[in-house]
Symmetry: C2
């Protein structure tokens, strides 16, 4: 595994819940995690881009790079022709369903959909 | 109960977990919720300000106002001398422990503290 790299100031944050927010507390990270959980298999960059319709290529690349550096997803390069790049949740990433599911449950109970 | 008011674009968000992040996905909101959960009683503005050492008065006021407008906390004005202002979690707010606890658990498992 590559060395992990967290956002600036991450190590100094004392509240555990706040650390989680620092890593996944934004729209696109949540949606990428959801895609990977639902797919339950590695997804190629193009599959993610297709499913997350409105995401720009720049944002998707940046989010994937960050999430890999946090140890949430793993990037695999397959030496095929053409070369394939796949992303999969790590064990740390898969366990995020324990966080995102309660988030969704709370919201469904208290807001209109 | 006063009419609820959500952030701009909130109603259009389709992902329930994302709605939760929109409401509580920031450091100070999480810490205010934690204070109120731990206290398990109404807290006065000054108590919150004292416990959240580094928060500015402006930020605390703004966060409390927002969280009241989301239906997460309730502001009560007590006609005493001097007038007291107390904040308490609503039922919607109390149920956020189901979200913040898994956030903390995940972080504690995967990061150093």
């Amino acid at each position: 595994m590559n060395e992990l790299k967290f956002p600036e100031g991450f190590e100094e944050v004392e509240c555990p819940a706040e650390k989680t927010i620092l890593l996944i507390g934004n729209k696109w990270s949540l949606l990428i995690i959801r895609e990977l959980i639902l797919a339950d298999r590695p997804l190629r960059y193009n599959e993610l881009a297709k499913n997350l319709k409105k995401i720009s290529s720049r944002t998707l690349s940046k989010k994937l790079k960050n999430m890999a550096s946090y140890g949430i997803i793993k990037k695999t390069i397959i030496d095929d022709s053409p070369i394939k790049v796949e992303y999969t949740l790590t064990e740390k990433g898969r366990e995020l369903y324990k966080v995102t599911q309660p988030m969704a449950d709370w919201s469904k109970k208290w807001h209109k959909f």
